[in-house]
């Protein structure tokens, strides 16, 4: 089963994304901050990581850098999920190895799930969950 690690500090957001990805049939793992994300990425090896940018303890961009620096986690595709509208943030994230930068308010959760599905199609065709 495709495992998604959602890193989101805001419970409103984390619950929402947890629901949609669960609805969509993914195995969902949650992390409340960057550090937790790093730990879970190492131990659980998720198929894809959704990473919020603005977070306490360790922000998304730093977390991304660390994920990409660690040989264990560096192959895992990372999708940045944020409500910061700055274009610079998007670009620096993409430069640091993120595969996509999604602004949360612009998309319904279903659209986000569709985008993730599309990305995964490029990575691991076998792991796409069947439309239940």
């Amino acid at each position: 089963m495709t495992k998604i690690l959602i890193t989101e500090d805001d419970p409103l957001m984390s619950r929402m994304y947890q629901k949609i990805f669960t609805f969509e049939g993914y195995d969902v793992e949650m992390a409340g901050n960057g550090q937790e994300c790093l730990d879970k990425a190492r131990t659980n090896t998720p198929t894809l990581i959704l990473l919020d940018v603005m977070m306490p303890v360790m922000n998304g961009l730093v977390t991304l850098e660390k994920l990409k620096a660690d040989p264990v986690t560096k192959a895992i595709p990372v999708v940045m999920l944020t409500n910061l509208a700055g274009q610079q943030d998007a670009e620096s994230a993409l430069a640091k190895g993120a595969v996509k930068y999604i602004i949360k308010s612009e998309h319904d959760p279903k659209e986000v799930a569709d985008m993730v599905k599309e990305i995964l199609a490029g990575y691991t065709r076998d792991d796409i969950p069947s439309q239940a």
Partner: protein, 766 residues
Amino acid sequence: MQIKSTKSLINIISLVSFVCGLTLWLAIFGPDFDTADYVFRPLAMLPLLATVINTGLIIFLYRRIQPSETGFWFLAFLGTTTFWSLAEFLQRSSGVLEVSIFWRSLAVYGWAIMPIAYLFFTLSYVDRQVLIRRLHLQIGLFLIVSSLIYAQFKTHLTVSSDYVLQSWGYDSPNGGYINIFTVWLLAVFLTGLALFIHEYKNAVSQQKRKQIRIFIISLLVPLVGGTSTDLVLPNLFDVNIIPMAAFLTAVEGMILSYGVYRHGLFSINPVSLSGEIMKTLPQPVIGTNEKFQIQFMNANATEMFKQHAPFVGKSIYSLVGAENFKIIKEELGKTAQDAVTNIPRIPLGLDGGVVIAQAQISSIGKGLGYIFAMSNITQQVLSMRIIEKEVRIRTQLYNQEKARLFSSVNGLRQGFLIADVNSKITLMNIKAQEMFPEVKISDVQSGNVVDNNAISILEKSLSNFGLREKLASVIRNNQYLEFEEVDMGQSILDIEILPISAPEGAIGAVVLLDDVTERTMIERSKDEFFSIASHELRTPLTAIRGNTSMMLSYYSEQLKDPELREMVDDVYSSSIRLIEIVNDFLDTSRLEQGRMVFEPKDISLSKAIKEVAKETNAVAKEKGNTIIIDGAIDGLPEVRADFNKLKQIMYNLVGNSLKFTDKGTVTIRTKIEESSVRVSISDTGKGISEDNIKLLFRKFQQAESNLLTRDATKGTGLGLYISKLIIENMKGTIGLESSKVGEGSTFFFTVPLAKPKSIDSLNNNV
């Protein structure tokens, strides 16, 4: 008029006297004249030669030198010599003794008076003509001359029996009487010699010295020659020699004339003309003796002081009053002997408007008297007073103007400096003084910089800015410079340097230092505020949107009640509208404050169009609309723009079209222009009324003038305003092409080509 008639009167008298005199002479002497009485003697021709030469000289010099006193006496000298030599010629040519004695007696008038004419000539030549007027001198001279003339009648120039016929004619031996004359002549000539030598020593002009040398040589001729032939040789050595005094004196006259003619006697000695000059001066001139008793007043002086007339015997005291007289005496006491004393103001209060005069006083000779040259300066003084008053008023106005300037300058919140053309700081307002407390200032209010080193202090504070260089460049080029966010220690300054332009170029520069530390800080924190606000606002909105959308898609079973479903639907739509509003507000403020980051690149316009068309397709279908891309867009050249921002504009235009169109079409067309591509978006919607067209592209326009009639369902009305700001930022344009109510509207925007079609077309465009 008066002067002219006096002159003609004198002319008449002269003519009448000349004619009468000549007639009388001919009448008295003529009958006695008999040519048989005269014989030709070659040696007698010598005095005739002297006569002819001297007559010639008189005729030649008369017009040239006669008007001056020195010239007059010189001509008199030549005249007496001529007379003397003429008489001597006739004496020596006489064949009869009585005739000879007659002429010899007549010659005395010439030779007795000649020394006096010569003495007066020398005195006036050395500027001592005043002495000629001394009565005792004149009496003495008169006594000598009259005694000589009288004596010759007594002695018949010794006695007729002593006369001997010499080879040069009848002549009497020189005896006691005639020797007295020789001594008289010698005395006068030696006096002349002494005066010349004295003058020679004092003469400054080289020309005058040369002239005096000639005069001295001329004197030596009769002095040595005459004394030898007439006195020393016959009397002491018993030599029988022709007396040549008359001839040699005539020779002296010739040499003197040469000296006068050669060196322009009277141009060197204008003092001789001073009397004439004084008369014609426009200035009032008064001459006094050493006791300040008036001796002379010219016409203007008489006019000026006419209320005090008659002047004879009066002191200058009675003209100027006690106060002024005291000052005059004091000032004269202070001045050196030869210097001119200037008394700039003598209040007179005379009739005829002479209120204030100026006087220049010079003393004549050594304590002989004074010359007062006055000027009426009443008018000047009055004018001066008016000017002074004017200057006072102007100065006051200037000071007021200056005070206004200073207050304005001091009221500025910016630091204000003025530098002169050499980049020297001359003025600093209070704010600038606060910024640079080390600079020395005359006083706080006027801000005059007294510190020559001010520029160095400023340069040190504004390290790395290079103020001196920039000032010089502004002044040199007469061109304004502006610098933003220059660091100065803990502060951040915006600096503007403006040339002070005059017609001849920049005469200095004004430096404005705007402390933007606080503003910059606020701007920086505002940036952060916007990021946080956008995040914080969007997060709950996203939760509303996301959850309602999930309710609608995954819980349709539970939302069977159509009213409940509608409510959830409305919550969902509201959240989307709110998100759009937040986005519009954030975009507007970022654009207005220039904080939106643009990254123009050479991008594919067709890709952008296709993406927009694809992404808006779903919305179009909801209202039964079709989006059409007209024509082949694959071949479009690249444009220079920020890809996402360009898409945002198109979203907005296409979105608007869809908003106002039902079951119609939205057509996107492109057209390549000279240096840009024009994209137009046409719809078949309801169109825009004339009144509302005016409001398009304005902030919050939404094509309705009244706030209460706003159609809140159509968004914030910021869309076109934001699009306009964005496209202008990318050097493009945006506008309404056409619109007709009921038929639809066409909007367009242009975006610059990455590579303009050709250099020529680019130039045409510029």
